[in-house]
């Protein structure tokens, strides 16, 4: 319950800054990362700093579109990692980042509260107006994926909420306030005891690709490159896999 409370309470906070140690001489390397990477990149920061005592990393989390705007407005970021290709594509078009790489994938999954009180067995149950069904708002990546998935499955879902934040959606399903919803596979790892996965038929699942790139205007391209390499290394991939992300 405490975990759900925390997730709900921070749901509307657009940007959450991770712990910053404050390097003795240099400013830390600033990484902007999608909200769904919160757990994975917090671990990533710790492990990277342990392996590179001379470098200080600071990760700032937020919605991918909001982070895109921050970079466009000239935020002094060194690395960006998004939950969706389109904000990265926009930055590439403006020559603001160099050669993005897909470093992880995430799958959109159908979940219910642990005891499945709505008796949901398939995507078709989402059309039942008596059930409380939630997805993400169409303005954020997980909402776009949800629309794509429901479209592909030809399901006209009877929606009750379109949450602007996937974590708060997952928390509301975990709390039993919603009967079903479409969240990331990584969110199921965040609420292992409270969420129940409903298998989707083959060919329906939508795969989210997470691109990462160094910012062109970075004042320290070498340090940015070192962090990128770490994320793409075997150790980095293990951290992502532990958090529930798929192979690229």
């Amino acid at each position: 319950m405490a975990r759900i409370t925390t997730a709900l309470a921070t749901a509307a906070v657009v940007s959450v800054s991770a712990v910053s140690c404050g390097g003795p001489d240099d400013d830390p390397v600033l990484v902007l990362a999608a909200a769904s990477l919160t757990d994975a990149f917090a671990t990533m920061e710790t492990e990277f700093e342990a392996a590179n005592p001379d470098l200080d990393i600071e990760v700032s989390f937020g919605g991918s579109s909001a982070l895109q705007v921050q970079v466009e407005e000239g935020a002094p970021a060194d690395v960006v990692a998004f939950a969706d290709a389109s904000p990265m594509a926009a930055l590439v078009d403006d020559d603001l980042v160099d050669d993005p790489t897909v470093f992880a994938t995430n799958a959109l999954v159908l979940v219910t509260p642990a005891d499945n009180p709505g008796g949901v067995t398939s995507l078709d149950d989402l059309t039942n107006p008596d059930l409380l069904v939630g997805v993400c708002a169409p303005q954020v990546p997980c909402g776009r994926y949800a629309a794509e998935l429901l479209d592909r499955a030809e399901v006209d879902a009877s929606l009750d909420t379109q949450e602007p934040d996937v974590r708060s959606l997952a928390a509301k399903i975990a709390a039993g306030e919603l009967d079903a919803g479409l969240v990331y596979a990584t969110d199921v790892d965040a609420f292992p005891d409270e969420l129940e996965l409903i298998p989707l038929p083959d060919g329906i699942a939508v795969r989210a690709e997470y691109p990462i790139a160094a910012v062109s205007e970075s004042s320290r391209p070498d340090d940015a490159e070192r962090f990128l390499d770490f994320v793409l290394s075997a150790e980095g991939r293990q951290i992502l896999a532990d958090a529930g992300f798929g192979e690229r």
């Binding site: 709900l8 749901a11 919605g63 929606l159 909420t161 709390a175 306030e177």
Partner: protein
């Protein structure tokens, strides 16, 4: 012009800085407003749905806050009971609590699995979260303290002499409340209602947490602004501007006189 009308320079400087704090963001908003697209942005059905819902829920919340808050203020100011200070502190809690936390707390109390919400849903089938009623409850939760504080202050400053006179004329306690206490605090009551309404109109955090976000049912103007802010900033600005216009219009039309000023 009386000499007291000219403020000491230090007050004038501080007041100017204070006013600038309000005026500058408004100028910023006006500066980035996409004037040429304004009509098409504001006639989008997402915006018209949000506008209708915002007006309905904020007015309903102001009414609910008045119907429940005035008796609560009366009890707090007139009845001496154990735990009165504690109750007063709890009533003001939504003013200090982050609204998102308030929304989560409402969910745990009135949600489908909530302490009160579960028996309520079992008995009546009424589920508050993700409904328009949920928006109204969330709005009332954050807005009512403003009304209670204002009205309780006014009631406490009445010394009770007119209420005594009314009682000696044969007025029952309810009649005294209705025909003497309420009219005597009229200006404060109206100020409290306006404050509560304005707070409800701008309410975001508790609403999105407790009632979710669905166009036409729970997506009020502030929620529409929030979900548009990253993806369609022009729409977000246009909606924000509309909220400014609505609240300024309402406050100006009601006039200072309506809420206790002689202007």
């Amino acid at each position: 012009m009386s000499p007291t009308r000219r403020p000491p320079w230090i007050l004038a400087v501080l007041a100017t800085i204070g006013a600038a704090l309000f005026v500058l963001p408004l100028i910023g908003l006006l500066g980035v407003t996409p004037w040429s697209d304004l009509t098409s942005l504001l006639t989008d059905d997402v915006v018209t749905d949000a506008l209708r819902l915002s007006l309905v829920t904020s007015i309903a919340a102001a009414i609910l806050a008045t119907v429940l808050g005035v008796p609560l203020a009366w009890v707090l100011s007139r009845i001496d009971f154990r735990g009165r200070s504690l109750l007063r502190a709890i009533v003001t809690l939504p003013m200090v609590l982050p609204p998102v936390v308030g929304g989560a707390a409402l969910l745990f109390a009135l949600g489908r699995r909530g302490v009160v919400g579960e028996p309520l849903a079992d008995a009546t089938g009424l589920v508050l979260p993700f409904s328009t009623w949920g928006v109204i409850i969330a709005n009332t939760f954050v807005a009512m303290p403003f009304l209670v504080i204002t009205v309780e202050g006014a009631m406490s400053s009445l010394d009770g002499r007119h209420e005594q006179a009314a009682a000696s004329l044969g007025a029952s306690p309810l009649t005294v409340f209705r025909r003497v206490t309420l009219p005597m605090i009229g200006p404060s009551l109206r100020a409290g209602i306006v404050l509560a309404w304005a707070r409800a109109l701008g309410e975001f955090g508790a609403t999105i947490t407790f009632a979710g976000n669905l166009q036409g049912r729970t997506q009020t103007l502030p929620l529409a602004v929030f979900v548009s802010l990253d993806s369609n900033r022009d729409a977000a600005i246009a909606i924000s501007l509309m909220m400014v216009v609505i609240s300024v219009a309402v406050l100006v039309v009601l006039g200072g006189r309506w809420w206790g000023r002689t202007a």
